[in-house]
């Protein structure tokens, strides 16, 4: 029997977080496996509970940080937001990649479970803080750095494993 879980958050992952995992995390396989699980067993967003902006995904592939596209696509689903369209709507050329990710994260709060988190690195988090006035208005969206991010991923994975254990009883 397949177990489907309603997770507390939807997750957006950025370029820097994937790069950090690839360079710094001792057991990369465990994290990738947990992200795969969270995605595959999501009730509301099957295969898309954890997403990445498609531009970040493609850049990670081009730089050979992502070595197995198919497996990583299962762990973090590449989502297209329509960058050109967004640049036309919002004041043209001044829009940067950080703001596009924030917009994507905020869009994700509009669907169940109405909570989204952006997982990034300490360094990249500083760049997002430039948009603090915008972020302060969004109560159900947050940004987490490396260690906090791992805690969130482990929490969601624990939701899955608890549900699975309940079903097996």
């Amino acid at each position: 029997m397949v177990v489907y879980v309603s997770y507390s958050h939807r997750i957006l992952i950025d370029y820097s977080f994937i790069k950090w995992i690839s360079e710094n995390v001792e057991k990369k396989g465990t994290i990738i496996s947990r992200m795969l699980r969270i995605n595959q067993n999501s009730k509301e967003h099957k295969k898309e509970n954890i997403v990445i902006w498609e531009k970040d995904f493609n850049k990670l592939c081009e730089e050979n940080i992502i070595k197995d596209k198919d497996t990583i696509r299962g762990s973090v689903f590449p989502l297209e937001i329509g960058e050109d369209l967004l640049k036309n709507i919002i004041d043209g050329e001044n829009i940067d990649d950080s703001l596009i990710r924030l917009i994507l994260g905020v869009i994700m709060t509009k669907e169940k479970p109405f909570q989204s988190v952006l997982l990034t690195t300490k360094e990249e988090k500083k760049k997002y803080q430039r948009y603090k006035p915008f972020l302060e208005k969004i109560q159900n969206f947050s940004i987490k750095d490396e260690e906090e991010s791992l805690i969130i991923l482990n929490d969601l994975y624990r939701s899955y494993s608890c549900e699975r254990d309940l079903c097996r009883r």
Binding site: M1, V2, V3, I18, I21, S22, K27, K28, G29, T30, I32, S33, L36, R37, Q40, N41, I65, I66, K67, D68, D70, T71, I72, R73, G74, S75, R164
Partner: protein
């Protein structure tokens, strides 16, 4: 002038839950020609993860099913 045509079969792979693969195979009896693959999939636990490869030109045709291994995950990044 001799012109040679080389047929290249384009494929794509996706990660799937074994439970979903089993339903897919059950509902589409011609979806997998390899009896060993079919048997392996049908005997698996529903919650197991597979990498499933299909033809782009005929996405109802499964050409390979691999169990996700620790090594595969460790080398993905």
């Amino acid at each position: 002038m001799n012109t040679k045509f080389i047929m290249v079969e384009l494929t794509f792979s996706e990660i799937e839950l074994a439970g979903d693969v089993k339903s897919f195979i059950s509902f589409n009896s011609n979806s997998c020609d390899d009896e060993n693959l079919k048997e392996m999939a049908l005997a698996s636990d529903d919650d197991e993860l597979f990498k499933v490869t299909k033809k782009i030109a005929s996405p109802l045709k499964i050409i390979n099913i691999e169990k996700i291994t620790d090594e595969m995950l460790e080398n993905a990044l």
